[in-house]
Every structure is written in C-alpha cells, then in structure tokens.
Symmetry: C2
Subunit: 224 residues, 2 copies
Amino acid sequence: MAEIVTVERQILKKNDEIAAENRAVFRDEKLFVFNLLSSPGSGKTSLLEQTIARMFSKYKIGVIEGDVQTDLDAQRISKFDVPVIQIVTKGGCHLEANLIQNALANFDLSGLDMLIIENVGNLVCPSNYDLGEAEKVVVVSTTEGDDKPVKYPNMFRVASAMVVNKIDLVPYVEFDVAAVKKNARSINPELEMFEVSCKTGDGIDSWCGWLEQKIAQAKSGAAV
Amino acid sequence: MAEIVTVERQILKKNDEIAAENRAVFRDEKLFVFNLLSSPGSGKTSLLEQTIARMFSKYKIGVIEGDVQTDLDAQRISKFDVPVIQIVTKGGCHLEANLIQNALANFDLSGLDMLIIENVGNLVCPSNYDLGEAEKVVVVSTTEGDDKPVKYPNMFRVASAMVVNKIDLVPYVEFDVAAVKKNARSINPELEMFEVSCKTGDGIDSWCGWLEQKIAQAKSGAAV
C-alpha cells in the first residue's frame, strides 16, 4: 500500500565552497570546531552549558548559536565568560556556511581552542549543510524514541559522534539504549557514542575527554 | 554582541495553488483533514494510535504518513483497519501539496470522515507548506522545554491546536505547563490547547471531542 515519492535534493555547491574557506581559516588557527545538531529540545544548549562549565577554566571556548528566532540560547551561554554570537535565521531551518563566515567577522579566533556551533533544532536540513566544521555531533534524547537513527539516517551518517542525552529519564520512558546504538551503528559503524544526563552530569566527563582529544589533534595540525 | 542575519523565505506560490486544489477536493467530499506537526519524537504517531483506537468504531479514518525514510509509522498505523499511505521524502524535510495530491490518487475518499496527514518531524519547514488541510495541529512534548513556541513561532502561529504530550513525565522534567501555554498564547491567542499522555490515555477524550466537532463542521459544509 505504501507509495514512495522522491523529492529531489538540492545541489549545495556554493555552500560547500564557502565551507571550504571556513575550514581553511579554522585549520590556520589550529582551532577545533564542531557543529552540534539535534531535534528541538533534545538538550543541545544544556549540553553546551555542562561542557563549558567543565572545560572553560582550561580551554578558550567560543560559541555560535543558531536559532530560527530569539537569542534565548545565547543568553543561557552568556552567563559564562565566553564569546558568543547569536545567528537568527528568521524562519530559515538550518545554518549555512555563509552565515558562519559572516559571524566569523565578529569573532577574534586567535587564542581560541574550540569553537562550538549550535545549529537550528532540526534533524533533517542541517545535515546537508557543511559549515566548515571538523566534526558534526548529533544529540538524541531518550524521550524521542530509539528509532530516530533509521528515520533520519542522513544526520547519523554525517555525524562523528552521537550523544544520548536525558539518560536519567530512561526509567520513565520506552527507550532502549542498546537499540538506539544498534540503529545508529547500522547507519554509521564509525559513530562515537556517549550517554549523558545534563541534569545529573553523568557521562559529561567522558564526552569532554573526547573533545579534549579533538582539541589536541587540531593543535598538532592533524588532518580533520 | 548578538548579530542578526536574515535568511530570505522562498515564495511558495506553486505549492499554495496545489493546496487550494486539494482543499476543494476535501470540501466536495465534506471531509475533515488535519496536518499533524511536531519535532521528531514528540509522539505524533502515538497520538494517532490513541486517536484511531478511540474513534475508528464510529468514524471512517484515513492516514497519510510522511517520513524522510522508512515506513515504520505506516506499519504502526496499519494494525488498525484504516487505509494508510506512506510518503517517503528521501531526504525532504517537509511534505508539499503535490505529494499529497499524488497520494490522493491512491485513496478512495468517499465515505471517509477524517483524513490525518502526519508530517515529517520538523518544527520549522513544514509550517510554511499548506497541504490543503482544514487545520494544523502541533504536538509539543513535556521533555522538549517550554520555550518551544517562542523559538519556533511560525509553527505555533499557523496551528489551530497545540497538544502537550507526555504529560505523565512532568514530575521528572523541568517543564512548566503554564509557561508553555503562556508562550504559545503570546504567539497565537486563538490556539486550542490539550494536555495528553499517550502512555496513560489521559486527556485523549477531550482531544477526540475537538476532532468530533471538526468532523461535524466539515459534514455540515461549514467554511474551513
């Protein structure tokens, strides 16, 4: 009974050209950059708060916040003493490389160790837009269902790491952590996986350890 | 510090023309059609399961499922004896009116009382695409944060009703039901609101009562 309808994917050539320019800038600065992606409300900003709180005494961190409307996320981050820029897309459903390039004009990258780009909450469109980052990280919350990797495969295909957030809610929801990992591995066998609770702090150390490795790699000029 | 960057919205003229054709078909059939929207994992399909279980002995219901990949949702719905068509967008982040028009070619609408279109999980793009439906209904889950209406205002502006799902999880999450309602009303004062748990069944009767009113209006030929 199911009918399959194909929708053509846009060619993203111009975006990819600008992303390559951004990537060259980041490489010259030996700066580790990651692009944080998820559904609305999975806890991207909470993860950033936990991450910055854990790492900012040791590393210089900058943040670019992307939202459809409001600077609520930038306000949450600005309580830390880190530079933060809010991009408001005014209805746009994803960040594009040129928006990042424009934002960089307002950023002093010298001396930064890590730049975090928090994308618009959307599991579909942002997966198609390279911003010049070294890694894409997808957050999935235990309240969303363990079928998300197979329903939104491109996001999990392009990501280097998956952070399973709200692990403290597992007793109250129908979510099988082993199943989400298996589903994610079926799409991307290389995916790094972390289980965290931004409420209790569980698992944040392990996640920050991975970021520290990536920062060290970028400093050493290792290919990203 | 925040920089505001504007991304132009596409003109959606052709989509709106086809949506008007769909709407005329639905009106001729005196059929109530609603478009169900939310983030991934908010519980759209669970709400459909509860709704169909409650209503299918009294009403003839059809379902169109939209997903980026997989027919998992159509499989869940097909356990009921209702016609269901799965549209797979193959990476497309929203349904468009022409996809619905194509799907209708495979649907016998005569005798149907209600057609439910479950959109792709995405709080941004689907809000811009009229499919010809009478009403848009947005589901927001208590695990997503009560700031969603102000962060994704267009979705709440175009919706007629908001269903707050996973109300059973309120004791375990930081979510203020009064705040999400206030935020939603600040965007759209006319919004109908329902609090439900698809796990316990709480609130489903009230939600189904609203649907029954809408079905009766469509039957009577009231303007939609």
